[in-house]
Symmetry: C2
Subunit: 196 residues, 2 copies
DNA sequence: TCCGTCTCGTAACAAGCGTTACGATAACAT
DNA sequence: ATGTTATCGTAACGCTTGTTACGAGACGGA
């Protein structure tokens, strides 16, 4: 890690190292030393950038959320129609390639870590509620005639399905190939009356 | 822990202690000492019952699977119809009370631990595939006229949805109360054409 | 060029970890 | 009642952990 990089870039690089270790070695081996090794520096730099391990994890969690939010907003703005936006946004939540599988493992690692960290669970709730509101808004735009309760219920069904499928696929990629996940999503959208 | 209890009972008690620690303190604090304390014994007994920590976790994971399997089979056999069986079996997978929320946290803890343990991930895959086959069979019985691919796709959508909803509700019970989860499940079943 | 400051690697610390060795005590056969 | 065996708690081991202290070296102003 170069000596002249600015703090924000270093913090981001360390956060990426956190994701790497969490995704490849798991929460139990997510140590400060392992993160430093993955980032190509020493524990000294890590502890100069963050007051403690907790802060490092929280920053990495925050940046992961920002990353997925940016991706989702880009997909949403590029979509040609509300229903296409809904499908596209849900689709990116699946685990259909190496990167998204990795993200899903990391996401679950943070969720498991949140059991022992009040601020992590608070971050999870805030992010998850924002995600839910976004999908509710997309469902509402895709089916303007629906009553609010149906919008909310269907949105919940869709985000839960995407999250569960990502977890399954991350843990057993052979059993849940991309096509099976996409068929699952399309079948659900069609059945709800939200097909394109 | 009494001195005359047989080995199987002790192993089960220690497994329950593993679930307790995993659900209340998280994977990072799931130490042999914490498990012993939760079981009301010392690390000596734990290490006399299991060759190492890994074996303890694997046994606890196995017993958790057996527990949910027994519950699911009882629900299935008691159901008055295939569609009622399907709904009942999926409903038990949600996190609608303190016990099932706890189970969901434990389940995710084991999944996070599986990243660093090949046998745990193998156990997860075997159990998950069996679970998927069971729900496929139930969907097939609930809609005998469906082609196999639709049965498989809808079954995947349903188990993914239940799993995701359980994860959400375990991490944020206030945002995902039991009624919201049940409405979500019923709306999905109805939309798929599997309503009772 | 020299000095102060800031960066970050090195090395150490106490605490906690999984695991092992050993001894005390209970249970049982004789 | 006594000797044997199995059970399990105690205490220690080596190791890894998060964290701290300190020093070497790069950078910038005078």
């Amino acid at each position: 890690m170069s000596r002249t990089a600015d703090r924000a870039a270093q913090e981001a690089a360390l956060s990426r190292a956190v994701w790497d270790v969490l995704g490849e070695q798991g929460l139990e081996r997510l140590t400060v030393r392992a993160v430093a090794a993955a980032a190509g520096c020493t524990t000294g730099l890590v502890m100069h950038r963050f007051p403690n391990r907790q802060a490092l994890l929280r920053h990495a969690r925050h940046l992961l959320h920002e990353k997925t939010r940016a991706r989702v907003e880009a997909l949403e703005s590029e979509a040609p129609s509300p229903r296409a936006a809904l499908r596209s946004v849900l689709r990116q939540g699946l685990a259909t390639d190496a990167e998204t599988r990795h993200e899903s493992v990391v996401w679950m690692g943070f969720l498991a870590a949140a059991v022992a960290d009040d601020e992590l669970v608070e971050m999870h709730r805030a992010n998850n509620r924002a995600w839910r509101r976004r999908v509710e808004r997309l469902v509402g735009a895709a089916a303007p005639e629906w009553p609010a309760e149906r919008v909310s219920t269907v949105a919940l069904g869709l985000i839960a399905m995407a999250e569960g499928a990502a977890a399954f696929a991350a843990a057993d990629p052979e059993a849940y190939p991309p096509r099976a996940q996409e068929r699952m999503l399309d079948e659900a959208l069609t059945s709800y009356g939200l097909g394109v």
